[in-house]
């Protein structure tokens, strides 16, 4: 289970703006791995915790050391690959730009997550209650995923403007499908014995949904929400790349055009840290919400 969930996070983070350079990409993966492992470690017996926490820290330290060595002795010019210490300095000196940019991206991401999870869940529930809706709507949902979000971004900026709305819509588009798909699958796979029991008890469809099908679908829904959390910032940042006046994507693009690669890496670092922390927080919330599941079921 760990590798599957972790794998999702890894895949998505590699697709994030880290793709600009392999090294920060590795850093992102390492950081994500670190938090996922730490999240897992929190639920384990105390005897395993120290090693479980130490392992990802060592992994991250190793990756940063590798990056530093490559920057120092790899004959790569600093405008292509700044050293970790240069990025750390850019993080500090550029904090006046990074902080508002991060807040903008975070706001877009959270709004996108809220709306996307809400709308995706509502559609999944509606499709579960009314089968014809699924037959009519599912092709359109799939179509929305067939068009790359990068291709849609300019159109959305044109329609919704340069402000926050177009980025939120972008994030919603990115996360809508995993949430709808995961919750829809969960709702369709309710144990047949529970449904039989409910029928003999004289339950209505709505009450079966509320008391049995929805709680039973929560583990699948949680998987969708975790995936959505990991990829929501991608939508927001892609929107910022195409047209914005603030946000980490906007800052990265500006830094890129000015060859301020260290600032760009600093923005990437903030973005990766933000995504990972957001994922960790959501994962903890979901673990609490799924209190009946074995402690390691969602992590290991």
């Amino acid at each position: 289970m760990r590798s599957r969930i972790g794998g999702e996070g890894h895949d998505r983070l590699q697709l994030s703006p880290c793709h600009e350079s392999a090294v920060p990409g590795i850093w992102c993966v390492g950081a994500a791995h670190a938090v996922m492992l730490v999240a897992g470690a929190m639920t384990r017996p105390a005897s395993h915790r120290a090693m479980a926490v130490l392992r990802p820290v060592l992994t991250c330290a190793g990756l940063v050391a590798l990056w530093g060595a490559l920057a120092r002795w790899g004959h790569v010019p600093p405008y292509m690959l700044p050293a970790p210490d240069a990025v750390a300095r850019a993080l500090w000196s550029g904090r006046a730009q990074l902080e508002p940019a991060a807040l903008t991206t975070l706001e877009e991401t959270l709004l996108g997550l809220g709306i996307g999870i809400g709308a995706g869940s509502a559609l999944a529930i509606a499709m579960a209650l009314w089968a014809p809706l699924r037959r009519w709507v599912m092709p359109m949902v799939l179509l929305s995923q067939a068009v790359p979000v990068f291709a849609l971004a300019p159109l959305l900026v044109l329609w919704f403007g340069f402000g926050m709305a177009s980025k939120v819509v972008m994030a919603v588009l990115v996360i809508f499908f995993p949430v709808t798909s995961a919750l829809g699958d969960g709702l369709r796979q309710t144990e047949a014995g529970w449904m039989d029991l409910a029928r003999t008890m004289g339950a209505t469809r709505w009450r079966v949904l509320v008391h049995i099908r929805l709680p039973a679908a929560m583990p699948a829904f949680a998987t969708g929400v975790r995936m959505a959390t990991a990829i929501a910032p991608i939508g927001a940042v892609v929107g910022e790349w195409v047209g914005a006046s603030s946000g980490l994507g906007f800052l990265m693009q500006t830094a890129n055009t000015r060859f301020q690669t260290d600032l760009m890496f600093a923005a990437l670092t903030v973005l990766a840290a933000m995504t990972v922390l957001l994922w960790w927080g959501v994962d903890r919330l979901l673990a609490r919400a799924l209190y009946w599941r074995p402690a390691h079921a969602d992590i290991d």
Binding site: D196, T200, H211, P294
Partner: protein, 240 residues
């Protein structure tokens, strides 16, 4: 609880694909009796039970209550698994039916029933904290909470160890007295201990054969000579 009805099967049949699983079953399940249905796997016992419970529709014939009232709403179900909701406490599982019908759960009665099945101290626990036997006792309390005159049980104790199973048989035999119960089992001893009426379902298409039941009131003692003799005879018959 309303008086238990008898259940009449009139020409009931079911096809599996194009082959008949059983045809033309005519039978009266006596009111207030425990009818035990025995038979090999795949012979159609569970399908028949589901039809009686209104969970499936027969291809031929019909199933009615002998008091002329519909069976729907008068049946409680206990399956092979305990079917406890893992996110709900034991007491919330017992009162599930009330919530599903939009009523207010009677927690005092649920606690009393949990006490009757020996789970008074476990009312607030999640099912995952219970043993297999305790889980089945909670499922039995859920059946009792429904307070239905007809109870359908599909191999409810098959996953339990021998000792726990024997205890559950005692409990179910006592607690379900005066109801019309249909119990499916593969276990000849269980059948001999609990049956007021015993039916062997066999053949292709399957038919029902009434078997002799040992003397004595249900639940019969596990070591009663009559029970042990009947068990041996039944096992011999099932092996033919």
């Amino acid at each position: 609880m309303t008086p238990p009805p008898g259940i009449r099967l009139e020409g009931v049949g079911l096809d599996f694909g194009s082959a008949p699983l059983f045809r033309g079953l005519d039978l009266l399940l006596a009111a207030g009796h425990m009818t035990v249905l025995l038979g090999a796997s795949g012979v159609g016992k569970t399908s028949l039970l589901r039809m009686i419970g209104g969970l499936a529709v027969p291809d031929y014939g019909h199933i009615v209550a002998d008091d002329g009232l519909p069976l729907a709403g008068r049946v409680a179900w206990m399956g092979q698994q305990d079917l406890l909701l893992p996110w709900a406490s034991v007491i919330d599982n017992v009162t599930l039916g009330a919530r599903l019908r939009g009523g207010r759960p009677d927690r005092a009665r649920a606690r009393h029933l949990l006490g009757c099945v020996g789970l008074a101290d476990q009312a607030g626990m999640l099912p995952a904290a219970l043993s297999g036997g305790m889980r089945q006792r909670a499922a039995l309390a859920r059946v009792l909470y429904e307070d239905r005159p007809v109870v359908l049980m599909d191999e409810p104790f098959s996953a339990l160890d021998s000792v726990t199973r024997a205890r559950m048989q005692d409990l179910a035999g006592r607690m379900l007295a005066q109801r019309t119960v249909v119990l499916i089992t593969h276990d000849p001893l269980e059948a001999c201990r609990l049956a007021d009426t015993m039916l062997l379902m066999a053949g292709n298409p399957a038919t029902l054969t009434r078997m002799d039941v040992p003397e004595g009131a249900v639940p019969r003692p596990v070591d009663a000579p009559a029970v042990l003799r009947a068990q041996a005879g039944l096992l011999r018959r099932m092996m033919q």
